[in-house]
Symmetry: C2
Subunit: 443 residues, 2 copies
């Protein structure tokens, strides 16, 4: 078999772990600099900000995901391994995967964040996450089948429960998913179901803190609250979840009967700290220096959601895609400089362009360069930026056409339910297993 | 809850089982006639002729599947139940589902065919089917991960095995999928993999009979064989499969080492005959009269792949989408006539417009109204007809754009690999479980 362009044996060996925004940006920068590198990930590259649109049936999976090796195929020195990292030996400078191990001279750790249940596995068992493409596909299946089950149910209480969706966590992901779920029900599904009235679907955001969208300007949060109210999404703040059961959510001071609970709260990184022998904050993020390297490991950069980095004021950076990209680019530049014999390093500086939160059809809030935008203008900006940052022109075209079509027709294009052979779909008594991870095949 | 347009209680009750081509065509005809009916299916409506393009990563699932209730939403009398039929009582005129039962006056059975392993479950265990959307998504995952596993393998024999794909059954489905798999490897994947040479991928069609594409004009089959040879798809006729193992396929007179075996041979219908108290042929299809009803059950029509019907010469009809549609329309017309008090029935007549087999990029064979076409002209006809018969204009546009883009760029747009949390993807020793149904999440 040929082995063209494979430069694992040439020194220095550069290894990137993870193909999210930070890892891909680092890979592209190294590729442009003509340096060979190895990128290890188990999955496709995923455009996470639009993930909730897969769960709520507007977009299809391939519109927001792409094979890493296809994206990097223009760089002959890019070696992509689809494998799972199980250890890092920072002394021997070796990364161990399930199937192999690989030495490195420079290592970029961009392993990202994952859904955290704060060690409470019962929270995971009866809820749906929204972090990976698989999560989104499972959640889509759950939402669609909830309405199908309600349609064939003859019990009003069961129907009401099946048509109640709770989102735990009032961050941008949870809020975006909540509005999209409510709009899917009230706009799209309502006219296709005869026995249930999908416009009566309840979507409830449950947030432990004083306010949703923590960290975002209070005036914009107020405008977001108005939009949520107009779109009939309920918000409960200061509501702490103590348990999630097949019956719904138990709060410290009450209970919400719900067929589907979506858990968006909490991020944490797996056993990175132990591997690297480094300090982590309580969310599991590795504490890095101002050059994003691990203390006493100047050849290991940690970037993106896996890192806890501080700005010039000593405050932690926000967990945004823009930050991850800038950090990935920074690490790649530092390695490129080192490969060319330049040892000195300048501290990482984050250029803050602001942030946005989508609020469904023709609504969003945006805080950009000091400007506070909301409503249609914020939505147009959000839509423009998110189409622009997709992987390629084909996906930009497909997503734009899909959005225009969905907004014009009130339909969504990806309402796919698939059963595996022999598995029956609707449960006679949904009380018994409504929110378990679906056993059905999904696509 | 409102119950608009639900006419289950009005006599006569019309029930359709299955939402394939036959069932949907019957439903649309009844809807146009203004008659209320209930359609029961567990899945979406699927445009099966393009299913192999989902498995081979050209199309996405939502481009060839659509929610039944969305398609039928324009008919107020259409009641769609997503449920699984578990019995039919032809004496009491009741259909029993997992969750409910429903009486009928007129019943259209359009439950289709499924993959058959001739009672040999070992054949199923180590092979992939290509009949349902779930099948296609599993197979896509298998094909893509086979190359990923080959890329990280260091053993030449393992690589060769992973890059060998066997299609059992030389019917149109098997042939179409074989060419598409070979083109995916040689055109699209070849440039993205560095350690394996995907142009060396072997795709082998194994057919028990004398020739592939039985029932199709011999001259056209010869032309198809030439195309397959030019596209480097291997064909083995008179090759009877005796076993499928994790190592590959055992033939009566040999063995093919292969990492992926796709089983397209054999169709059969589940326990319909017992439910209906009717005679079935050895493929499990119900023997119907010339008016497509079950003998002595003039209110039960069996249509599409579930039926064994004969043409005017006494030969069985071919299992084509066009036949299924005409039969569905015929049954709906007979019921409409009966509802208007017309009892007499004319025999079903099949209008044969011919058939086509796709052979990958810019190649097909077509036998249409006596014309024998092959090559580009046949491919253009095939592409035009298949776009035309898609469910709606949006899918027509999307599929057309996707095909133009794929043909122009040699890329395919739906190369999606997803892992469920905690499941590692590549197997260290693929000999142990290469062709098992993947445990990973799929989309």
């Amino acid at each position: 078999m040929p082995d063209p362009g494979n430069s694992r044996r040439k020194a220095p060996a550069i290894v990137i772990l993870g193909a999210g925004f930070a890892g891909m940006e680092a890979a592209e920068a190294l590729g442009r600099a003509g340096l060979p590198f190895t990128l290890i990930d188990q999955n496709n590259h995923l455009f996470q900000p639009l993930l909730y649109q897969v769960a709520t049936t507007t977009l299809q999976t391939a519109e927001i995901a792409a094979p890493i090796r296809a994206i990097l195929s223009r760089y002959p020195g890019a070696d992509v391994l689809m494998d799972r990292v199980i250890d890092i030996d920072a002394d021997r400078k070796v990364v161990t995967m399930t199937n192999d191990s690989i030495p490195y001279d420079y290592l970029i750790v961009a392993t990202g964040a994952r859904t955290s249940y704060f060690g409470n596995d019962a929270l995971r068992q009866h809820s749906f996450a929204l972090k990976t493409l698989d999560d989104a596909v499972r959640l889509r299946h759950q939402i669609l089948t909830a309405f199908e089950r309600a349609e064939i149910s003859r019990d009003d209480a069961t129907r009401r429960k099946l048509m109640t969706f709770v989102l735990v966590g009032g961050g941008p992901n949870g809020v975006g998913a909540a509005v999209a779920t409510r709009e899917l029900a009230a706009r799209t599904l309502a006219r296709d179901f005869h026995h249930v009235d999908a416009t009566k679907t309840r979507v409830i955001i449950v947030e432990a803190g004083d306010t949703i969208l923590p960290g975002i300007d209070a005036e914009l949060v107020d405008r977001a609250m108005e939009t949520l109210s107009a779109k009939e999404v309920e918000v409960r703040t200061n509501a702490k979840v103590v348990a999630i059961t097949p019956e719904g959510v138990d709060l410290e001071d009450g209970h919400i009967e719900a067929g589907t609970v979506i858990w968006t709260a909490g991020v944490a990184v797996p056993d990175l700290a132990a591997w690297l022998g480094a300090e982590a904050d309580k969310a599991g993020r590795i504490v890095v220096g101002e050059d994003l390297t691990v203390p006493e490991r100047p050849n290991i950069w940690v970037v993106g959601d896996a890192a806890r980095s501080l700005d010039e004021q000593g405050d932690p950076h926000p967990g945004l895609a823009a930050l991850a990209k800038q950090q990935g680019r920074y690490a790649a530049a530092a390695i490129t400089a080192a490969c060319h014999g330049k040892a000195e390093r300048t501290p990482f500086h984050y250029s803050d362009y602001g942030h946005m939160v989508p609020l469904g059809r023709f609504a969003a809030i945006a805080h950009v360069k000091g400007w506070k935008l909301s409503g249609l203008i914020a939505w147009l900006l959000w839509a423009f930026v998110h189409v622009l940052f997709l992987m390629d022109w084909r996906r930009r075209l497909m997503v734009t056409l899909t959005w225009i079509w969905s907004l014009a027709t009130k339909r969504t294009g990806s309402r796919i339910i698939i059963n595996r052979d022999g598995v029956e779909l609707p449960q006679p008594d949904p009380a018994h297993q409504p929110t378990d991870a679906p056993k059905h095949g999904v696509a």
